[in-house]
């Protein structure tokens, strides 16, 4: 299977989808699904391969190369599968919306660009695909109009700053080593001075960090994720921002190299420790901001920032366990966060776009399957044992503890408790509590939505029970980075300082559940009653009047709100205001009176001549 063909299918599919949309909507939908499925199959068939192919002779003298190895395969398969599921989900979600051809074609373009990013074998093609990814994402984020415009703008500006930093980095590398292929640059980097390597890391770090939304580059993510169409939010949160993770992995362990990376720093401050601390901040702050969000998608968006913190913490901590945990968490987060965004999408679809946590409730009665997958997704997000999130977080915690970094571990663990708070709020305010009367006749989510959600929830449990499947792949990647191998077993990790065995837990859980269930059923039977028939100390609980989902964590909010200002974001906004003010002030030199303009010309001339005569610089 050639990589060029894969990309041609991906990019060509995107274009054709748009053109087909002009012919017939049904054909287009079928074609989009087909293309995305084909991509999954093609990527899957590349499993275990490692090779490189030049595909473009010389772009301004720089040859472009594609390559595949374990790392890029992992990201490619995640991107293509999530992309495919998102396209399927869109079939229902986008029905009746305007400009659907554009939507599908952009969605496929984003997927294609992501595949391009992970399959690039040199930094220039990486950058090119990166930029294509950025602008197509911008178009999709802005798609909904209204508040989405500001969100898209913020995304674009921040991501553009990042990619320009990356451009500077790429071209600096080209200037130094004359090649941009990973192997060549890696060879050059091994003998480069630490200061140089650090500068390169920072330049690229801005780009990858912005995409991955680590603090303090996270400001674009909450609005962008919450305003984008939900199936795209799933892609965005699930895989697109993970391109930053890919970039970091590539940079740290392929280009810079493990040993250099770990020893890098200014004085006693090690770079990777600083990055870990940033990761910890990225966990804590957004988690607690997420708790007080009232928009379901914004809550998930902040949660995404926080989870990105875990990933960064994992991969920058730089032990074999932590990097494996970081990579695994990327995969897991892709699965469960996509799932949760789809859940919101399904709810949005049935409630005509309502995602305000204060006005939903009780939907478990109307959308039971959606609720079940939501619970599974939330469990994965929290990291409940026997779901995938547990394993990856466990790996990260364990290595942090064993490497004597209790404060980072505290941030990670405490972040999890925050996660419980917002996850429960998410579940409760959408699915539990009273069902408002206006949703009483609501239908279930359509099949095209349930299918991807179900698949994802199965994966959440599967990876939780048999984490060895993905961990084996991740372990190979880790070994290729130069880490020692983990002792991966199908159900966990065997090690001296505390092993992980999910099968034991599974058995215990099943036995426990069955036993308790039997005991429970042995008691007196209960009568099924409607939900309004509840105990209220003798008073009737009125419908639609009394809903304790509003201000769910009010006491905590009263305590914490003053400390949870997103000052980074307000700083950026103020900065944008300043720039606009500066522009507004500057343009006042063009006064409109031609006499002033004449004066500018003559003064400029006079200054030129005066300077020359006074100092004769020439």
């Amino acid at each position: 299977m050639s990589l060029g063909l894969l990309l041609i299918v991906a990019f060509g599919g995107s274009l054709l989808t748009y053109l087909l949309g002009k012919v017939s909507a049904r054909t287009r939908d079928a074609f989009a699904v087909l293309i995305s499925l084909a991509l999954v199959v093609m990527v899957a068939s590349l499993y275990g391969k490692a090779f490189r192919v030049p595909f473009y002779g010389g772009f301004l003298g720089m040859p472009l190369v594609l390559r595949i190895d374990g790392l890029s395969w992992l990201f490619a398969i995640a991107a293509s599968v999530l992309g495919c599921l998102s396209v399927v989900f869109s079939l229902g979600y986008m029905k009746g919306k305007e400009r659907t051809s554009f939507y599908y074609s952009m969605l496929l373009l984003v997927i294609a660009a992501m595949l391009g990013v992970v399959l690039s074998g040199d930094l220039l093609s990486l950058f090119i695909f990166w930029e294509i990814m950025s602008w197509s994402t911008f178009l999709l984020i802005s798609y909904n109009g209204g508040p989405a415009l500001a969100a898209g703008m913020k995304y674009f500006v921040m991501s553009f700053v990042g990619s320009l930093a990356m451009l500077a980095g790429v071209l600096t590398l080209h200037g130094s080593f004359g090649t941009l292929e990973f192997t060549g640059v890696a060879a050059g980097m091994s003998s480069a001075s630490p200061g140089y390597v650090l500068a390169i890391l920072v330049l690229f770090g801005v780009a990858f960090g912005t995409k991955n939304a680590i603090w303090p580059f996270h400001a674009w993510l909450p609005p962008a994720h919450s305003e984008a169409p939900s199936p795209f939010s799933a892609v965005l949160s699930g895989i697109l921002i993970k391109m930053g993770v890919y970039g970091f992995l590539l940079l740290m362990f392929v280009i810079v190299g493990l040993r250099t990376f770990l020893s890098l720093g200014v004085g006693r401050i090690e770079f990777h420790t600083v990055l870990s601390i940033i990761g910890a901040i990225t966990i804590l702050l957004p988690t607690f901001i997420a708790i007080f969000q009232n928009d379901a998608k914004r809550l998930l968006a902040w949660s995404t920032v926080a989870q990105a913190g875990y990933i960064i913490l994992g991969i920058s901590f730089g032990t074999s366990l932590s990097v494996a945990g970081g990579m695994f968490h990327f995969l897991n987060h892709a699965v469960f966060k996509a799932l949760l965004f789809m859940v919101v999408g399904a709810v949005e679809y049935r409630t005509n776009g309502v995602r305000d946590l204060d006005s939903l409730g009780g939907l478990i009665k109307r959308m039971p399957v959606t609720f079940i997958v939501a619970v599974i997704g939330v469990c994965g997000l929290i990291g409940v044992p026997l779901t995938n999130g547990f394993v990856s977080k466990w790996l990260i915690y364990k290595t942090l503890i064993l490497e004597r970094s209790p404060f980072l571990a505290f941030a990670a663990l405490f972040g999890t408790w925050g996660t419980i708070l917002y996850s429960y709020k998410f579940l409760h305010n959408i699915f539990l509590g009273q069902l408002p009367q206006r949703y009483e006749d609501m239908e279930r989510a359509p099949f095209t939505m349930l299918l991807p959600m179900t698949i994802l929830s199965v994966v959440v449990v599967l990876f939780g029970v048999l984490p060895g499947i993905p961990l084996a792949v991740i372990d190979t990647i880790g070994v290729s980075f130069g880490f020692e191998s983990l002792h991966v077993t199908p159900w966990g990790i065997a090690s001296d300082t505390g092993a992980l065995n999910t099968v034991n837990m599974l058995v215990a859980a099943l036995v426990g559940l069955v036993v308790v269930w039997c005991v429970f059923r042995s008691g007196a039977r209960s009568v099924s009653v409607g939900q309004a028939d509840s105990y209220a100390a003798g008073a009737a609980v009125p419908r639609d009047k009394y809903q304790y989902s509003v201000r769910f964590y009010a006491p905590l909010r009263r305590m914490m709100a003053p400390y949870l200002k997103d000052f980074v974001d307000s700083f950026y906004m103020r900065l944008a205001g300043w720039v606009r003010g500066l522009g507004d002030g500057l343009r006042r030199i063009y006064t409109g009176y031609v006499g002033d303009y004449v004066m500018y010309i003559l003064v400029f001339l006079a200054v030129l001549i005066f300077v020359q005569i006074a100092w004769s610089p020439w």
């Binding site: 006064t591 031609v594 006499g595």
Partner: protein, 119 residues
């Protein structure tokens, strides 16, 4: 006095240029401004002429025997000035045409009144 004598044409030329620039700088009336431009142009043309001018030189035509190239006025600047004059006239014509339109549109020739395009 020989300085003045030698450079009188240059002084004159730059005097005209200075007057022209001054008018353009301080006047707000479009017509006066155009007049300023015209004076500036004249000054520039005069400057060009004086570059090639030789006192008591002859026309650069070998019309009579005994004429030496050394004593001839440089013909190139004259050719240049001819062209420059033509260009100047073109600009002048266009400017005056615009001035008419300007007056019709704004009802005034004061350029300070025409500040709609700014910033």
């Amino acid at each position: 006095m020989s300085f003045l004598h030698d450079y009188v044409y240059y002084i004159g030329a730059f005097g005209l240029v200075a007057i022209g620039l001054l008018i353009i700088l301080v006047k707000r009336n479009l017509i006066k401004l155009i007049i300023g431009l015209s004076i500036l142009d004249t000054g520039v043309n005069m400057f060009l002429i004086s570059v090639g001018y030789i006192r008591r030189g002859t026309a650069p035509i070998f019309s009579r025997p005994g004429l030496e190239p050394d004593g001839m006025v440089d013909p190139v600047p004259q050719a240049l000035v001819l062209t420059a004059i033509v260009i100047g006239v073109a600009i002048l014509a266009l400017a005056l045409a615009l001035a008419v339109r300007f007056y019709k549109t704004y009802g005034t020739l004061d350029l300070r009144k025409a500040k709609e395009l700014r910033w």
